[in-house]
Amino acid sequence: MRILSLAGRRLAASIPTLFLILIGVFLLLQLAPGDTVDAMMAQMGGGDAATARELRRFYGLDVSVPVQLANYLWRLVRLDLGFSAIYGKPVAAVILERLPPTLLLMTSALSFAFFFGLVLGVIAARGVNRWPDTLISTVGLIFYATPSFWFGLMAIVVFSIYLQWLPAGGFEDIGVVRTGIWRVLDIASHLVLPSLTLGLIFLAIYLRIMRASMLEVLNLDFVRTARAKGLDETRIITRHVLRNALLPMVTLIGLQAGTMLGGSVVVETVFSLPGLGRLAYESVVQRDLNTLLGIVFVSALLVILVNFITDLLYARLDPRITAES
């Protein structure tokens, strides 16, 4: 229970941050050349000033900026994100439609990066300064320097065009109707390359942190005690070292949540996945500022949520954190 109240307090502290972001971005978007009505008029092929005035009144754009901001925040409290003129639907509905692919992509990329980062980090730390360590660290550095969109394109060339093992893009096969397990497998095969692409940079970061954190914990007294007790090396690593070395890794999940969401903009565009990131890109190109603001809100919310979950995990891994508060 104490864990929950501690994490809950941090969650409450992030609400002002959320409002700060929304007010900032809202005011920023006021500086944008042209508003939603201009974009709509352009799409309709032009129209007279009377129609534009009528539309502005309908969308509440005819009042002063502070009033618009107050209206927006008031609607937000009631979870109304406004109306997307481009998609002809409420912004909340548009975003909700696009959320599942992004969440799936982020979860699978994170699991991939976390798991392999952990394993490779442990292997590198066990053979520190010998060839496995050098090899793993070098590969990690190269992954870190690779632009993710370029890696995605090259993966498409190799695995989709030459080998033809995996689909080059999309969320699922539209040509064939699949149900149940076949649909799941189909979506999974579409997500393999995007997850690898998005996860690669994080794999490099996780393995570097895991290696450093393993090296630090391996030198601590309780590890020497465990060795003196005569425990075998595998048991020491899995039962004693790993749990303590995991703490920085968990912190990193929270810190990198925003970066990962940002990275999904690029990866979803490369693989034409109908996700939140691609929606962000499309709304910039189409000047759908209402949707863009909605995405800002939802992505900040997601980052705060991930941090809440890492707080819980953190307290679970290290009981001292709750005891100290």
Partner: protein, 276 residues
Amino acid sequence: MGPVKRYFRSPAAVLGLVLLLIVIGMALSAGYFYPRDPLALAGRPLIWPFANPRFLLGTDNSGRDIAAQIFHGARISLLIGGVATLIAVTIGVMVGALAGFYGGWIDNVLMRITEAFQTLPNFVLLLVLVAVFGSTLTTVTIAVGIVAWPAPARLTRAEFLSLRSREFVQAGRTLGMRDTQLMLREILPNALPPVIVYAGVVMAVAILLESALAFLRLSDANVASWGNLIGLGRDVLRVQWYVSAIPGVAILITVLAVSLVGQGLNDALNPRLKQR
């Protein structure tokens, strides 16, 4: 052993320096080897690399010399990366110095703002900035700088927090130095080294952010940028994959060089950390 000697003892740091010098050399010699406009029509479109000695790295979809674009792209990448890093570090140092030196409500307000910037995914903020201010070379560079400042700010704040109550600062205070003097003349020189080392990471991120933006065709289309070329090559990816592949390698090498040099500087200046 001095820091310079320590730097050259690490093979990775030396490799990074060599790669960085090569990229800088490419940027400097671009005008000499390829005096023509790199975005001008040069020959038949889609010539493969090494197929024609006139175009060593081939030509892209619209018949422009890829090698020329790579050389001139080095200028753009280093320019955007360098200036954006300068902007990010300047904002970060100012915010971090004020927050760390004064503490109290100033610290509270500034850290709230920093937190807000860190909660919003940086690429989403970049998209918003580009949507509002357009995508010319100047606006993109400033936007990347604005997105990247929170990390240097936190670093500077931590340094200022630990330095502000040291004896030499208190001595300065008793001598009657003003706050700005204390901050700029006494604390800043001591707080700066770790921030400058961290600038390597900021620059790597800045180059990657700009290339991603250019790939999405949201950066300046009128300059020869590596990201632009990768985006163009995407249209002919199926057969002429080299159009995208070559500039990607250039980005990889540049980012690798910048991070290796940053890491090498870090190890050379803080030798005790290295031994862990």
